[in-house]
């Protein structure tokens, strides 16, 4: 068992980093919404799911069925990421307007928001299984069956670590995720909108008095979080080449675990938490078998919530200096 671990250490690390980047991108949505609204956006998992289908739409309409190279490949990948972002951000904003805003206005209970989110989640899943996948993707009667993406790029080896190959798609995922994180960090720390988000997270009433339009800030928070989930969806699709209407559930819980692990409300924490979760999950899978991968994540979630609910980094969006 231990020699297994040594043998598989590097492949598991690379895979864990790729998966962890995706978790981290989704976790950003949870963490931002929690920071601003103190609300666990339960339906965020569906935002990710819709991101994968948004990205799927590009190769589907272009009718791509063979591998691409050069400019065409880069163009298609960028288009997929943008499509995923648009689909997810749109969903996130619609979700806020329909399922949360009326509750927020009335000062409804958290339980009400949770039930509303579960309802929205079921609705979106079924909408895709029954209407969107059979209709838009021309798969009548097969809405609930996994949908594959034709291979876009040759999965050639880019370089190797300790004799283990690192494939192009894995590098694309990790690099794109890091790029997105840097962009988001700059957005939150350097722009006017970012200042508004931080101010609202710290003290909504004071922010209102200082002239921050809170409704707009909440909308922007959902938009940015949704866009990140869209990027995650596109990257997942490019790397793992399949998706289905139910994919959000597991990814949602795992990304939430990542957000909690890093310290919910903390943007950099989401990154740390995502990567740590991705790695631990993969290392654990070597040790106890891949059947137990999900159990490992759930156990981590429970242990973190019990023993260090503030997460690894602890400091949150509310306490961050303006």
């Amino acid at each position: 068992m231990f020699s297994d671990f040594i043998n598989q250490f590097w492949p598991a690390s690379i895979d864990g980093l790729a998966f962890g980047s995706i978790y981290a991108l989704i976790a950003l949505g949870y963490t931002m919404v929690y920071g601003v609204l103190r609300l666990i956006n339960f339906a965020h998992s569906e935002v990710f799911m819709i991101g994968t289908f948004g990205a799927m739409f590009v190769p589907f309409t272009l009718g791509i069925d063979s591998t691409l190279t050069g400019i065409a490949l880069v163009g298609v990948i960028l288009a997929m990421i943008v499509a995923g972002m648009l689909a997810s951000a749109g969903t996130a904003i619609a979700l806020e307007q329909v399922a949360y805003k009326p509750l927020r206005k009335r000062g409804a209970s958290r339980l009400a928001a949770l039930i509303s989110a579960i309802g929205a989640s079921i609705f979106l899943q079924e909408l895709f299984a029954l209407v969107v996948i059979p209709g838009v993707f021309d798969r009548p009667e097969r809405g609930r069956i996994q949908m594959g993406l034709p291979r876009l790029m040759e999965r050639s080896e880019l370089f190797s670590i300790a004799g283990h190959p690192v494939r192009v798609d894995q590098v694309v995922v990790i690099v794109a995720a890091i790029g997105m994180m840097i962009a988001l960090d700059a957005l939150v720390n350097r722009t006017k909108i970012g200042r508004g988000i931080r101010a609202t997270a710290q003290n909504p009433e004071a922010a209102t008095l200082m002239g921050v339009d809170i409704n707009n800030i909440v909308r922007m928070t959902f938009l940015i979080g949704g866009a990140m989930a869209g990027v995650a969806g596109a990257l997942y699709l490019i790397s793992y080449e399949n998706t289905n209407y139910y994919i959000g559930f597991l990814f949602g819980i795992k990304a939430f675990t990542a957000a909690v692990l890093g310290g919910i409300g903390n943007l950099r924490g989401a990154l740390v938490g995502g990567v740590v979760l991705g790695l631990v999950e993969n290392y654990g899978a070597i040790l106890v078998g891949s059947d137990w991968k999900h159990v490992i994540s759930f156990t981590i979630l429970i242990l973190v919530l019990m023993f260090r609910p503030t997460g690894i980094l602890g400091e949150s969006l509310q306490q961050a200096r303006a």
Binding site: G107, A108, A112, T299
Partner: protein
């Protein structure tokens, strides 16, 4: 404008009518209440008759769906109501206890050859224990966090059952024994009431009614006792309850254990009827559905919760022609309900008042984010 006021007026009148009935009920002497209770039980016993069934479910066998999903959901909702409605603990993994009960019946029945009645008692004990084991580490958490952790536990139990081959793995367990016949030929309205066979679901339904009646009596007693008041105090404000000398942790554990036992008892009964079970019978969606039933009916109010469970279980069966779209509609209805009637279809009077005050005892969502337009009232109301 006019339309809005008139509909509000109508709702007000309806609410007033409800209050009048409720007041009358509260003032009724004990013997009148017992007559009503007896009538309700007789109605429950007559429910599986074909004439009602032909209207309630023309497409499926009424007595069968009366046991599952309708009756099962009702009992599970009563159990979850103790946890969510009375103690205010958000549990998203309730199905785990139902699963533990089901697996207890399946394993002890097939491997050890134990009797249904013995397993029922043992199963309730196991579930209470598992409720305590789950509660002990997690009940220090509050609100959403507790919800997520219970969800995690629910999934862990399901995946563990799926991955453990010695308890059947993904295929589950089959050949679960039926309860032993209490009487071979005792008949009531042409039904062999105490003969638990494969074909007739009605004896099981009567067993379920008996279970439900016992559970309702117990839960009602608890609600009216010191325990129930402690739960209400915890639900409304845990810190205040603690300061007032309520041992909150112990009472939260008790709520968890009671809820788990009820879920487990239902699991045992369900497994004894259904012959086989597998891990996929215990999906997260079932937890969410039962929680939705509780909230939809009016969290904390027993008749409301039962109505909610009935509606949630029956509507999809009744409208089979919409079979594909029923979950879609269900999701949309949940959202609409939370927007327009967050206190549920049939809330208790106390809860209604709490909702008017604002939070419904779960901590508010919007209070932290007053919009520019609502800010004035926010300050004024303090």
């Amino acid at each position: 404008m006019n339309k809005k006021t008139s509909s509000a007026g109508f709702r007000h009148q309806l609410g007033h009518f409800g209050d009048v009935v409720h007041d009358r009920w509260l003032r009724a002497p004990g013997w009148q209440r017992w007559i009503v209770y007896l009538l309700l039980i007789v109605c429950a016993l007559l429910l599986p008759s074909e004439s009602i069934g032909s209207f309630m479910s023309p497409d499926t066998d009424w007595a069968t769906i009366l046991f599952f999903p309708i009756g099962t959901y009702v009992v599970l909702a009563i159990g979850l109501n103790v946890v969510v409605g009375q103690a205010g603990l958000l549990d998203l993994g309730f199905v785990a206890f139902y699963a533990v009960g089901g697996y207890a019946m399946a394993l002890l029945g097939t491997r050890m050859g134990w009797d249904f009645w013995v397993i029922l008692v043992v199963g309730i004990g196991i579930c209470a224990l598992s409720g305590i084991t789950l509660g002990a580490p997690t009940l220090r958490l509050r609100g959403d966090y507790l919800a997520i952790v219970t969800l995690g536990f629910g999934e862990i139990i399901r995946i563990t059952a799926r991955n453990t081959d010695s308890i059947g793995g993904p295929t589950g367990i089959s050949g679960i024994p039926h309860p032993p016949n209490l009487s071979e030929d005792f008949e009531l309205f042409g039904v062999k009431v105490f003969k638990y066979g494969v074909l007739d679901p009605r004896p099981y339904y009567y067993l379920l009614v008996a279970l439900a009646v016992i559970v309702i009596i117990l839960v009602k007693r608890w609600e009216k006792s010191r325990v129930g008041r402690a739960w209400a105090a915890i639900r409304e404000d845990e810190d205040a309850a603690e300061v007032m000398g309520v041992p909150t942790f112990r009472f939260k554990m008790l709520a968890f254990a009671i809820g788990a036992s009820i879920g487990g008892a239902m699991g045992v009964l369900w497994a004894a009827k259904s012959v086989s079970l597998n891990p996929n019978d215990f999906q997260f969606l079932l937890s969410a559905t039962i929680l939705a039933a509780v909230v939809m009916g009016g969290s904390g109010n027993l008749p409301g919760v039962m109505l909610g469970a009935f509606v949630v279980a029956w509507l999809p069966e009744r409208f089979r022609e919409l079979k594909d779209y029923r979950m879609l509609i269900f999701g949309a209805v949940l959202v609409a309900l939370m927007i327009f009637r967050p206190e549920g279809l049939l809330p208790s009077r106390q809860r209604k008042a709490e909702f008017k005050e604002g939070s419904g005892g779960m901590g508010t969502l919007g209070a932290e984010v007053p919009g520019p337009e609502s800010h004035g009232e926010e300050v004024a109301s303090r």
